[in-house]
Symmetry: D2
Subunit: 140 residues, 4 copies
């Protein structure tokens, strides 16, 4: 069951001369969906931006992989789902999918580490952030 | 009175190290708003994409200007307004603005010519497109 | 006479389904050329990034305008020229052009104000920055 | 041994408020490097664009994965390497890396299928394209 659903308006400018969305735009869609997950989970607006500036934690990406199943076009909204696969001491792993008109277009895995900016070393997230993620995972 | 209002979710990835939206993203926001105007006006989804592929007309830009009044951040949705300033025989001019939290952040003028792809010469738009724009302008 | 020339490799991903560069990419090319101007003028690498972080001044944009003369494609490198049109007490105005294969594709004017980050109010630039720009203008 | 090396100028606009390159820009750098590989291999300029429009073959991506080892900044040029890992009947797999100042920043695998546009089904590439890739692989 998806914890969070995120809608994106795909446009002409996202497409390449093959008349489908350019591959390199898709990781950005997935990251926007994860950004929306944080905004939805923690409230207060602004996702990654609020995490870094207001809440004092960062989540830089250390890995991503994507499988592309069907082309994207501007003809339908892109519906992304975001699930937390795993919460570690200093990391978090997401499963993100994108569908249009009921067809799965891409799916992927994204691994982030928690940091305490401006430090770039791994660090445990704030307790309330951990608690909020655990609640979503059903073990809060 | 704005003919069309378009909402955009500004994200972390739109911002630069000054912690505000990078200037070069803003023309893309304005073009997405114009894309939305066409989708709203003509129906059928997909804006510029449907215009080019389904309706047989293009609207390449020949001019744009933008004045930046206040910084953009991810803390609020960006609300764009799109008005048709002028409809010529083979051109159309838009006024587009962007506001956050009630503050005007930028405003600009965008001039497009009509074409009949794959030709790149100026050409009158389809009659039903002209009629739809004229209706918005109140002289249909 | 152009003070600075900047080469950009235009790619497939910059193009839209009309098989030419998407309009909203072009302001980014112009800003990259201005970024290169600063890097070339002040040395030390990194343009806007070094200005903000190492040299303590920012140059947010308050205006830009662009006229599009011919389509851009990936078939040729984009050659940009950057000239300083005017240096004010707290502002700088650039003329930037882009050509491919000897054909002028776009030209525009870009106005920036100087700031002293993290403040966002206008502020005079560092004396050595002013001196370097004046030297380019031939009145150093 | 890398078959192809590709240099990219990283800029201010590629960076996010954490003052490092935004993760979602990096797949685009890798794809630009692969675009450069094709341009270098087949000549004639324009990479993916020439492949699609002049040579009649496409290479849509079906998979990508990336591991991020160190942050990217605008302080150094990004040096990408592109190697062909495997050439199948209707697919090609690349290994792409990105380094700055001698430090490996990211590395990844990219799988494309060959198509014959406007068809989107897999199709063998043109014989001369296969021959050129095989020559790079040392089994031409």
């Amino acid at each position: 069951m998806a914890h969070y659903t995120h809608e994106i308006r795909v446009t002409w400018g996202d497409c390449d001369p093959a008349r489908i969305v350019y591959t390199a735009r898709i990781p950005g869609f997935a990251l926007d969906a994860i950004d929306g997950f944080w905004e939805d989970l923690l409230g207060g607006g602004a996702g990654f931006f609020a995490n870094e500036i207001d809440r004092g934690f960062g989540t830089p990406f250390v890995h991503l992989d994507l499988d592309f199943r069907a082309p994207l076009t501007p003809r339908h909204r892109l519906i992304c789902t975001v699930d937390v696969l795993r919460l570690g001491e200093t990391s978090i792993t997401f499963r993100v999918t994108g569908s249009q008109d009921g067809v799965l277009c891409w799916e992927g895995t994204f691994v982030c580490v928690f940091t305490k900016p401006p430090e770039i070393a791994k660090a445990a997230p704030p307790a309330e952030v951990r608690a909020a993620v655990e609640a979503v995972l059903g073990r809060g």
